[in-house]
Structure formats: C-alpha cells, structure tokens
Point group: C2
Chain length 347, copies 2
C-alpha cells in the first residue's frame, strides 16, 4: 500500500525527489569534490535560487549546517557574549533556551511575545512556529518587536513554517530551518540565513576573546561561504536535491504554493472546528499554525493513528507528555488537497 | 564514459550503493520517524554491526554526528578543561589543533610521535592517517604512547584509514571517521567511537561547570544513544546506507578487504618506487599510508590528472600548497585491483 506521511518531520517526500535522486547518481554527485569548481557552482546556484524563492536580501549570507538544532547552538555561540532572551511557545523554544544555558549563557525567558525585553539582552530567540504545540507567531508581531528594540539581534527558528511563511528579512538577523519538513527532503541538512549585522556582532565577540565555536563558527562559515564552500565535507547530495526542489518550486511559484497551503489549512481547521469531539489545540485563530496543526483528540491519538495507518495515512502523535492526547498533522508543499480530504474521511 | 573516482574523499561509491538507495526509497526511509521503534532498531543494528565489523568493545558507545570536523570539535569541548596536545603530521592534524585554540584551549603541539607529553596534557589528539600528506602512524606507536602515559586520554582521527586500520580499542578513548571515504557513501555523516573513560571525564568537566557543548555534547549524545536515538533529526538515510554497506562487508569479511587493500597498495607503491620521475612523498616505508597515497609528481599533477580524466580515472590533486606537485590516490574497499592496474597504465 502506498503511504502518505502527514508526520511533521521527516514527512512526505517532495514528489520529484526520486527523479532528482536518480539524476544525482547518474552524474556522480556522491563522488563530487567539495573543493572543486562544480561544487562551487552548485553552492552558488543553490544559495542564489533560495534567495530568489524566499526573497532574501543580496547582502545576507546562507550557510549549510547539519540540522536546526546545530543552528540554535551556532547562533547562541556566535552572537551572545552573556545574555540571550527566549520567547517560548513550546518544546523547541524550550530546547533552544536549554542549549544557551548549557553553553554557559545567562538565559532570560518569557512565554509572552509582548514582554519587556531586559536591557542586557543581546539576542532574542523566537521559535516562529513551534511544532510541539502548533503555536504560530505572526511575523508582524516579530517585526513590531524589532521596531521596539532595533538594537537587539533577532534569531528565528522557521523549521516547520518555511517556505510558507513570508518574511521581510530586514527585521531578522538569523533565520534557520532544516530540509526534511517544507522541502520534503531526507533529513541531514540545515540552512542558516544570516544578516550582515549578525556577522558584525560575531566579529566583535571574537575581538573580545569570546569563544564563538571552531570549524562551524559563524565567522568560519562566512569566510568559506564567500568562496562558495563549507568548512567540512558537507552533505553534497542533499544540497544538490535542495537546489532541484527549489527550482521546481520556482516554476510553480511560491505564491501558488502558499495559496494551496492556505486551502489545505482551511479544510483541516474547518473539519476540526466543526468536529463534535476533536478540537484544534490552539484556540486563538491568530496563533494557529497553518503548516503544523495540533489537534486535541482527548486520549484517542493512538487509536486514530492506527486506524489511519491502515488506510495508508501516517499521522504524527502528540509531542512529549501529550503523545496520547494530540494528533499532529503536517501541511507542507508535498501534501495535496486531495490527500487531505481523503485522510479526513477516516477520522 | 564510466568514471572511477580515486579521489581521497568523497571517493568512488561502494558498488552496492545504488541498490541500497533504491531499497531505501522503496521502504520510505526518508520519511522514517527518528523517534519511533523502526529508527531505534536501525540505530541498534547499525551500531552493533559496526562493533562486530571493527571489533569495538561492548562498553564503548557509538555516536552519529555530521562530519569528522564536528567530531574534532566535540572531542575537544567534551574532554578538555584546559590543555590538549596535538601530534601533527599534516593539514588535518593542524586543523584539529586550530579548532582547540579557537575553542579557547591551551594547545600544545609536536610533529614527532615520540615527544614527551607535558604533565598538564588532558587529551592527546592524533590524526592516524593524514590525507594531506599520506603520512600513516602505525597503531603500535599509538599504543606505546598510551602505555607510557596511561592517565592521558587519546583521541584518534581515522577518517581515511577505516575500515582498513586494525585497532585495539582498549588503548583508545575516542576514534572518529566520516562515511564518504572507506565506506564509499555520500558525505554528511560522521561516526564517533567513545570509551567509558572518556564519558567519565566529560561528566567530571560538567560537574566543574565547564561548557562541553549543547545538543551534541558527549553527554547528550551518550544519553540519547542509550535509547538508540540522536538529539537532533539525524541523516537517517545515511545511517541506513551505512548499515547496509557494513552488512555487505561482514559477508566479504574485513580480513579479505584488508588483504585486497594490501595488494592494491603494493601494486601502487611498487609502480611509483620504480618510476623514473614520480616518487612516493613519504620515503620511510613504516609511515606510508596504504589507504591514501601521496605521490610527488614534480609539478605535473594537473597534466597527469587531465590525462587520466580523459580515460575516466579521477585522481586527487595535492593538498593546499602542494596542489600542483602531488597526486593523491585513494585505496578504499570500493576500488578494485583491476581498476588500479588499468589506471596505472596511463601514468
């Protein structure tokens, strides 16, 4: 039976993945020298295409790392001398704050977006869409925070909202994601989008003698990226596949992909808002994630997931303590409205 | 034209790679949930098979990271409060020492294996086979060092000598490699083999308040590995492929693979020892790498590489400043004696 993965990541693969993977093998991508001209061209094309797709300013740099958790660590090490501030709406925001503490930083936290940011804050860390709760922070709210505190750096985790989330990068200093969610690729590659202001800050820290990391410090990543390379032998195959999927998305247009995502999200939320028993976990429409929906199914998660699996639909369990209470449903570009409607029939 | 990659990494892919990759897609490995039972089983099987193949003690833990350079960083952060000692035989040993300095450690260096290790040394870092020079340190010499300084931790980079190099792990505290060399897999996965003594040391550092990292600290890696998981969403596809290639190697037997490697190394060194112009860069037979040979071709590297490429043989250039002076030739399990003999015809 063909399976459709509605899990929140890894998730359903992008429909063209197999075609691109076969082509990658045909042209020997796994044997490609990461210091050679062909790799540099791949790096250049991939980052340029990503900038075009996501409307990222020319002056921002793009780094390849191994995961979004790595990006959390590199951001803290590279941009904080002493104090980071974390807005927490779920488990991933909490994890980021824990990493900062483990890295010896003074960690300030808030569960509200509208909190007062203390003066000593150097970096504000925000999980824009927390997969554990399905809590979505609208970008306007983040821009307003930056307008209120223009001297603070802002880093956002957009792991499970990209490429749907539409970002005006001039308000953002670091954004990062991994490729196994919205891009429908195998896991093992993280992407960081970094502003010139963030790179200036890391230079200042290095001059002060602060440890900002080693091979993957923001400075080392930046220097290698200027020459279209990475410090280590990277996941070249995944970079190649990402470039191909971005090109596919550019052909469809992100506008169309976003419209489709909205249609699917509407179908899903309508269904559960009108369900007599199962309800969206986030009540306030403003904060509901369109890309990773969390549904409170009152302890019936396992039963429903098994029932759906029999029909070929693989759905995510709740996160952590909510494993048995929640269903988590991804709404990524790889999912079709037809899949969504079909799947909902069995709930 | 079919190409044979004699580059030192990424290199020629393992002959069964395509078959395993197709199977991985068929069973939806890219969509596999990294917190589920199937992934835990894959983790367990892969680490058990690796322990069997390489004769690693049961009490040692195996961690999945993203690259060997990451392993260098994690080793320094996790095992050094103040001072690391580096035995340097080429550019990769030098890089490791630089990372330690960037991480704020007191870095001691030596270019000789038989140097006196200063009292304050906590960790001795050795690149057992430096790909930049083709310099090979016999394991017996490393064991002797450990016997002389049993209280010091020893970490070895075996990136380009594994699975050929035969190690008695009781003398070693950390060993690491990446999969794109001896295992013939796409790049993007690093493996760390870690002793109980190393994990005790990292616990001691944490108790003293030393920063040992965050999501990929040795402690966090160890805790997740106990439950057959990784802190982040890992490169699941690559772990799957590694397990398959290890199983293939177990069928052939590592003894046979080592014998074949010796035969190919002999053919290569015999050819160049008897060549009127091109000579092995390392003169002393004891220190000559069987797995990554560096040949001094007196400025003719580019000409020879182009000539060989026309016949389908892709050979590595020299490293760094020696780009035009050296050829670098890998001798991994993916390379056949037939390939080697055919390739040498065109030099």
């Amino acid at each position: 039976m063909k399976k459709i993965y509605f899990t929140v990541g890894p998730s359903q693969v992008y429909p063209t993945l197999y075609k691109h993977l076969n082509q990658a093998l045909k042209i020997n991508i796994p044997s490609l020298n990461h210091r050679g001209a062909d790799f540099k061209e791949l790096f250049k094309q991939t980052t340029n295409n990503l900038k075009t797709l996501l409307n990222i300013p020319e002056s921002y740099q793009i780094f390849f790392v191994s995961s979004a958790l790595e990006a959390m660590e590199r951001t803290i090490m590279g941009l904080t001398e002493k104090t980071s501030f974390h807005i927490i709406t779920g488990s991933f925001g909490k994890a980021w704050a824990n990493f900062a503490a483990e890295l010896g930083k003074n960690v300030l936290k808030s569960d509200l977006l509208y909190s007062k940011i203390p003066k000593e804050t150097e970096l504000i860390c925000i999980t824009q869409n927390d997969t554990s709760t399905g809590f979505w922070i609208p970008m306007e709210d983040i821009y307003n925070l930056k307008k209120k505190y223009p001297e603070k750096l802002i880093a956002i985790d957009i792991v499970s909202s990209i490429p749907y989330v539409d970002i005006d990068y001039k308000y953002i200093d670091v954004a990062f994601f991994s490729v196994q969610k919205g891009f429908g690729l195998p896991a093992g590659l993280g992407i960081m989008i970094v502003s010139p202001k963030a790179l200036e800050k890391t230079e200042k820290l290095i001059k002060k003698g602060i440890v900002t990391g080693s091979y993957h410090s923001l400075k080392n990543l930046s220097e290698k990226a200027k020459d279209f390379q990475t410090p280590e032998t990277p996941n070249v195959l995944s970079i190649y596949l990402l470039n191909q999927v971005i090109k596919d998305m550019l052909k469809i247009s992100l506008k169309k992909i976003r419209e489709n995502t909205d249609k699917k999200a509407e179908a899903l939320y309508n269904f559960f808002d009108n369900h007599k028993k199962y309800q969206p976990f986030i009540k306030n429409h403003k904060f509901r994630s369109p890309t990773t929906l969390v549904i409170d199914v009152k302890g019936e998660s396992e039963r429903l997931r098994k029932k759906l699996a029999k029909k070929g639909f693989i759905i995510g369990a709740g996160y952590g303590d909510n494993k048995l209470n929640h269903l988590r449903i991804a709404n990524f570009p790889s999912h079709t409205l037809k899949n969504v409607i079909e799947m909902l029939k069995y709930i």
